[in-house]
Structures are given as C-alpha cells and as structure tokens.
Symmetry: C2
Subunit: 204 residues, 2 copies
C-alpha cells in the first residue's frame, strides 16, 4: 500500500513530516511528494524540502495543513482558494483505500468535497470552517477514523494519527514499538464510528 | 539570540524539525543550517532538505541525532567517528550561550567533550553510550537543563526541550501559547540542577 504525503508551498513542517517519520519507522511504503509535481518547496516556518516525485496514483493520500489561520496564499488556504489540489484529491478519492489529513489539511479534503456529512476534525483554529463546510466536527477527538476518511487535530496530532493507523493495520504491538522508538506517549481520543450503529460511508 | 540547528546527512527528521517549528512559532531567531556547509541533505528516513547556510557563529546550537542505534555512517554515529562536527562544536562552545541536543545528538556533544561530568540524557538506545562517555545520565528525565548544556530524550522529546526553553526564556504563558498552537501536551520531567546545591558548570 503506497502512501503519498502531498506537500505544497507553505505546508506546516510537522504536519507532513511527523506522520512520514512515524510511518517510515513502522516500515510502511510512505513518500513525501509534491502536490503540484516534483521540485523544491518552502514549508510554513521556512524549511526547504526537495521532492523527487509529484502526487501520483497512491493507495492512500495524507494531506498536511499550514497557514490556514493566517489565510496565507502560501499554504492550505491558498491551495483551497486556487482549487487545483482539491480537484486532484476529488479525482483520486474513488481509487483510494483511505484519505487522511493532519491539522488544516482537513480543509483541503473539505474543498475536495470529501468531508461533507462526515465526522472529522482539524486544528482548533479551523473547526468552525470545517463545520461550515458540512462536516460533523467531533469535539474532543484528536483523531477521527471514519473508515476511509481519517482526520487529525493540529500539528502534533499527526503523530497520533500515524500511530493509530499502525495500530489499526498492524496491531497494538507494532504501534507501541513505533511510539517507543519515537519516545512519544500517545495522546488523546481516537473517535471511530460505532460499527454496530452504522457503517463508514464510502468516499464519493 | 541566533539559534542554529546543525543538520547533517542522516539526521533524524523530527529531531531537527520539531524544535525548529516550536521555536519559530515562539518567534525565535532559529535557523536550519548545514553542519558541513550549505547544500542538500538527506535525513534519516529519506526527507531531502536544502539549507542555504552552514553552521556559523550562533549564540545557541541545537544538535539533532539520527542513526545511532544502527551505527549508521550517514548519521550521528558517522559524524562522531569522523570527528569534524564534534571538533567544530568544541570550538564554538566557549562562545555559546548554551548548547542543546535532541535524541542522539547528545552523542555529538559527548564527542565534542561537552558532556563529561555533566548531567544529560539522550535516546534510550544510547544512554549506555552516553554514560560511558562520562556524562551523568539522568534516568527518568525527558529534558535535562544544566544551564548552558541542555539535552533531551529521543525524537519527540525535542518538542518538550523547545517548550522548556520558551518557558525558561519567555515565561510559562509563552510556552503554553506555543503548545496550544502545536496542539502538543507537554510531557515528562525537566531535570534542573538544584540552584541551592551547586551552580551549573560552564562549558569547557
């Protein structure tokens, strides 16, 4: 299962790199890619990254946030306004095993129409925007797992998203091993749809 | 106070980038620099970064770890073996306000002779090596603050190092603000020398 983390100018460094490192540590096939093709990117706080590949046709896409609170043109806000990345995510969605976001990356999934009527979360500073997009914002959850749509809270919640994915796919022992290697104590609540109540809805 | 985070091939991504983002969020003058000059670097898990500047003459240097457990040539182990970065750190030390490390970056401070007889910590997988280098390893501490020498535990402990620095220099409210922005709940114990017992020793 190939996972691509879709980076763009102004992405928040830890939103992208924390799940990358955690999933790499788990031995997963995860790649940092350019949402708009290969090249050099400058992240929200100034780190410069080089990505050799652009967003392709992965099994899973993870979308970081960045700059939403400041309505930054370089960042998730600008990406949502311009629309190219959301359109790409919408086109990919039917073929994905799941889509995931960290922080205000959820607003790019929202712009792609993937969160409407779905339980989700985002950084505290964007929860009202996510709610207005038609998502059911789950207050108090650090990670929301709706089957084929996973969203995490702000910045460092990406670690807990990744560790939850490792637990879900590889089991608790695997997740505990990664957490130990990262010396990260897992935090917060993972919200999951009650399987006896309703199945996770497929992506549109 | 200019802070340089000294990156090298094989550095652990989060060791370097987590304190960078946290201190940037605090408004600090912090820079990712190349320990061996400007250029392109490949971090331990595969992320490629570009740094425009090499390690200069900062007020503070922060050293990440990476690859120590695997005795990787590309990483902290190889850097300690080759000795150029430790020599540079030793030469800088007398002019620094403080030196800090995340994870096995402590082993590069050790190779520079900066931890001998000093309380310190590192990633769990390197504590024995750090002890053998003559440091007093403080078990149970996530961050060890010995005044002008600060060391943190593995990987994500760099967040708590950075937040401790913000608290120490800018106060608790500032640290709480950064933690809230990062949606990080601070963890673990910060060990500080008891000021009534003995002063922190100066760097050599």
């Amino acid at each position: 299962m190939r996972i691509e983390i879709a980076l763009y100018d102004g992405f928040d460094e830890l939103d992208g790199i924390a799940p990358y490192e955690a999933l790499r540590t788990a031995g997963w096939d995860v790649h940092l890619v350019g949402a708009h093709g290969p090249g050099e990117l400058r992240a929200a706080h100034g780190a410069q990254l080089v990505v050799d590949e652009g967003l392709g046709d992965p099994g899973v896409v993870i979308v970081p946030g960045g700059g939403w609170g400041e309505r930054a043109q370089r960042g998730a806000w600008g990406e949502a306004q311009r629309g190219e990345l959301p359109r790409r995510l919408a086109a990919l969605a039917p073929r994905l095993r799941f889509a995931a976001s960290v922080c205000t990356g959820a607003m790019l999934l929202a712009a792609a129409g993937l969160t409407r009527g779905r339980p989700a979360t985002t950084h505290a500073n964007a929860k009202e925007d996510l709610r207005r997009s038609g998502a059911e914002v789950i207050d108090g959850a650090r990670v929301v797992d709706d089957g084929d749509l996973l969203t995490a809270g702000g910045v460092t919640a990406g670690l807990d998203l990744a560790l939850w994915l490792v637990e879900r796919e590889d089991g608790e022992d695997a997740a505990a091993g990664v957490a130990a290697e990262l010396e990260h104590e897992r935090r917060g609540t993972v919200w999951r749809r009650d399987a006896t109540r309703a199945p996770a809805r497929p992506l549109p």
